[in-house]
Assembly symmetry: C2
Homo-oligomer: 337 residues x 2
DNA sequence: AAAATGTAGCGAAACGATTAGCTCGGTGTC
DNA sequence: GACACCGAGCTAATCGTTTCGCTACATTTT
């Protein structure tokens, strides 16, 4: 490989001058500049980022750890993050914790070893774990995304889960439903807990109590939602409306409906929070809240880049986005029967 | 940050010894080893990959350039690639060329600047462009994925597009259909061209000629497929069966059907090649070929890692995978009417 | 006892860039 | 003409590792 020294020799100048030409960091007289550029071109020289990074203490790498790369929601986040990161002049290193604290720990270690300049993390959310991460990782530019953990030292970007769920629930209540069931995610995550709480709050405010068997939670997975839905809906006392906590789970629920020959929205109304691209093909179209993944990701990276470039001593910022209710055809007024 | 020198000083040894301890690269007597390890632990020292990489000339980074990160097919590929790369001890840097040669060129430049050890590329497939890439990038470990370009110098991993399309088409023919239409992708890509060819071959072998207006190609995008489908199907002479070239396009076609109130499979049979996860929720389930993305990605990375570690002078290898036909409920025998 | 052999650990030169500080002429001022 | 000043370009230190070659001591061989 050709190095800066080769170029310097070929152009009969010092390496300092070559560096100055490359980086425009000092005035170089036109004739010299031309000679250097000719040499660069002739030798097909390209500066080694690695050496540059070692010297400068930066890597121009931003890491993204998502909790589940197989989830289209996070896949979309990767898409948005890649674009944003590239626009800021960085490159994106992707990790998948697969909801496992152990993987997350490894990824964080790797990130520090690679001297990434910062990390955008969708935490798996185990509190014990986070105490540890915090002790080790203090000062490392990090933005937590989507699921707040009890960490007041990092920047966070989240969605208002409680509002999302109560918005959707209120819509179902407005249609006259009272036997409303829910299938939500793991309760140690705010995306699980918050959405359940939002749903229950909305019910409570109208003085409606959910039936115990109609409130279920599991993992944010299509197959889990499928089996929970099958079990809950294959009974005579099934709910007349169902709130599903995320897009992937909604797919599972719709599959269960098809298999049970329950018609939506005639036999049951379905509504969800959070959306994924694959859902666009579903019929009936789902009534749901849309979460601005792209804007959220952009904002998260803005915060991250700001912290990388402007310093770490600023107080942490917490940005909360609001979801928007989008009506499909998956809900119908309660029929008196 | 604590460096190897700090550790050396603290343990009263030379940096060479510390390095030997870290890497197990030379025998160090137990007492010294213990002292060094204690110092490492006390100072919370972690070696800088950046310095190590500069010295060793490796980066432990593998790059992935996909043609369209928003496409669930490629999103799934990122998922598989991350897992495989991690298993080999590398980290994954992701780029999105968004089907634009210019972006791909930039990504390739960036990859070389970062001294990634190798790259897995889903090429955008412009031949002119590839001549250039080849001239510059010769010798850089690269595996081309999914779309063959005219580059006999790189390893490639592809699917047999012709076989996939003719398999599906034959199935439609077996059901009695002869007015079969097709919506395929860009013809400069083998995933576009090959699938169209496969479909036409299958038709020709049975002596069936497609109607001119029923053979359409566009981009691999949901919205493009939607509008092409709307136009083709909203006419009295519409085909009785439709072959759609990929998963994302199939979603668009199904959406068009819903909007036109054409019932599948009663009014029209739909079949596609290639699958995406979001499609699982579709009803009726699509009859399609499944492409083994995960195995293909694993194989591609095996080739890549092998080339990185075993050297570049081996002859290029070209691995071709076979698709498998999966029956759904989206096709029905032709009704005589 | 001298020579040969082995070996634990050290010193210092890389890797390929950036950059502070210096040199060395040429101008401008008094 | 002496002095300060300025600007273009060079020298060399530095970033944090790895690793080659060497020392110096211990052990074995003759």
């Amino acid at each position: 490989m050709t190095t800066i020294k080769d170029v310097a020799k070929a152009a009969a100048v010092s390496t300092a001058t070559v560096s100055a030409v490359i980086n425009d960091s000092a005035y170089v007289s036109p004739p010299l500049r031309a000679r250097v550029q000719a040499a660069i071109h002739d030798l097909k020289y390209e500066p080694s980022q690695m050496a540059r990074n070692l010297k400068k203490g930066r890597s121009e790498l931003i890491a993204l750890i998502v909790a589940d790369l197989a989830n289209p929601f996070f896949a979309r986040m990767v898409w948005a993050a890649e674009a944003a990161v590239a626009a800021w002049g960085y490159s994106l290193v992707v990790f998948n914790s697969d909801e496992k604290p152990e993987n997350e720990r490894k990824a964080l270690a790797r990130i520090r070893a690679l001297s990434c300049d910062g990390a955008l993390v969708v935490p798996v959310g185990l509190p014990t774990h986070y105490a540890q991460r915090d002790a080790e990782g203090r000062g490392f530019p990090t933005v937590l995304f989507g699921r707040v953990v009890d960490d007041r030292h990092s920047d966070t970007v989240t969605i208002d889960n409680v509002a999302a769920a109560s918005q959707v629930t209120n819509y179902l209540l407005d249609l006259g439903h009272t036997r409303i069931g829910s299938i939500t995610g793991p309760l140690h995550l705010t995306t699980g807990r918050g959405r359940l709480d939002g749903m229950l709050q909305a019910m409570a405010q109208r003085g409606v109590a959910p039936e115990p068997g109609h409130v279920r939670s599991g993992e944010f997975r299509e197959d889990v939602a499928y089996s929970v839905a099958r079990e809950m809906l294959d009974r005579p006392d099934r709910p007349t409306a169902l709130y599903v906590a995320n897009g992937v789970m909604a797919l599972g629920v719709m599959r269960a409906l098809a298999d049970l020959s329950i018609h939506c929205p005639n036999d049951i109304s379905i509504a969800s929070t959070d959306t994924i691209s694959g859902i666009g093909g579903l019929r009936p179209r789902l009534t749901r809240t849309e979460h601005p993944i792209i804007e959220m990701t952009n904002e998260a990276l803005r915060l991250l880049v700001d912290r990388i470039q402007r310093g770490k001593d600023k107080p942490p910022r917490n940005v909360v986005f609001q979801p928007a209710l989008v009506l499909g055809e998956s809900c119908a007024p309660l029929r008196q029967s």
